[in-house]
Amino acid sequence: MTARAQSNLVPLALGFGSLIAAILVFEVLIRVGLINRFIVPMPSQIAGAFHRVITEEEIPHRFLVTAREALWATLLLALFGIGIGVLLYRVKLLRDATETWVAAMASAPTVLMYPLFLVIFGRSERTIIMMGFVAGLPAVILKTIEGLASTREVLVNVGRSFKLSEMQLFWKIYFPTAMPTIFVGMRLGMIFALINIVGVEFLINFGGLGQLINDLAERYDLPGTYAAICFVILVSVIFFFLTDRLERWLRPAA
């Protein structure tokens, strides 16, 4: 095995090892009674519930519903979040006028606005997608501005010395420079979006995994509830993996 392959495997093994160690610690703490087993189920019970929730609770379908909502929210974030970020970067007056508000919005509990969204979009997937989108929007906007603003002046001067048009300057210099920071914003936006998507599914008892978690919690099926939460984590992992691949494809040197 090469040194490089070894150096890639070590963090992976350490990550999995830590996860398994944490699961074992919980199992032991619950078994010896240090954690109340009626509040937190044992990891072995959660593992045992997987088969049941997959076969009896339509997990694949619900998983796809939540993934689809997250995908739509992500696409909207990419389109409008990056678009608004670029606009605010380029029009200084707009940026000065709104940047503080956007930053304030990032810390606002937008999930509490769900009744308003229900009135506008009805009890539908659109409400859930829009709630996810709104929650993730500030992070994408702010990181897009930050990425564009971090473009070194000398790179812009190189572009100008080659007589690049404004459009070429943006696509050939500003955007590639800002891309790593924009991807950080997209990842943050996706985290906020997914939290809100599952949260709103839970609150309005509609849609995918959030609704299932609500159902299982109301039935006091705690192992099933935690098993369903694991599938939410899986959605998150898949999206992170895909954005990572996309970033590597767009910017191989990253």
Partner: protein, 283 residues
Amino acid sequence: MGVAHVDTAPRQAAAAPLLLVDDVSKKFETPDGVMTAVDHMSFDVAPGEFLAVIGPSGCGKSTLFNIIGGLLDGYEGRVTVAGETVKGPHASIGMVFQEESTFPWRTVTENVAFPLEIAGQPKAQRIERAKHFIDLVGLTGFENRYPAELSGGMRQRVAIARTLASEPKILLMDEPFGALDEQTRLLLGDKVLQIQDQLKQTCLLITHNITEAVQLADRVLVMTYRPGKLKRMVPIDLPRPRSSEIVSSDAFGHYVAQIWGDLREEASRGMRDEETTLQSHKS
């Protein structure tokens, strides 16, 4: 402070100037009032000539670089290339910057092919052309590396190759080796001399390094400290082709001493000025 007449080296005397800087002045508004960065500078550069502009820090060298490169407007006077007035960046002038300026997201080949891509050349053709310039700066074998995988000197050679790929009439360099150690600087100087000899490239080098200026140039223009004026034009009558070995010759030492004589006065004035400014800001 004596401002000398412009002397021109014998080998360029007969040629019509390719670059003409005619009575150029540039003022900046500062919190302390109007500051004259460049004051009535006039000089010319003949085709194939290598001119070095040297001066102490803060004398307006970089301002002059930006004016000639078309990156700075709002100045008095005129800059022309082959008789054409420079208004904004000009296709005939290729710029190499002091700071690290390679695109980190592009490989060496992609960096060097950048101006050709902008010019709309087909991919196969521009890669072929880029290879030629990569070879010229001695980076063959590193075509697919990213700048982060190269040393500072190699990255600066990529930047030079990228500028050369646009085939400018004038190569304008602003302290391109400023961030490098002395040995690398001398060796890269050799590389620049080789390239200039091969391409018969007209070059204008902005520097604060006397050794570099004498090693490379046909003439050295010494600037005064603030406001930046032409203090003296020193023709360097050293044989070509040159290499870094020339730095150990007596003639080389004579030129270095001569230029340092001019520069020392200006550098001391700059130092005193900075100290006075710092003291006045303290009090």
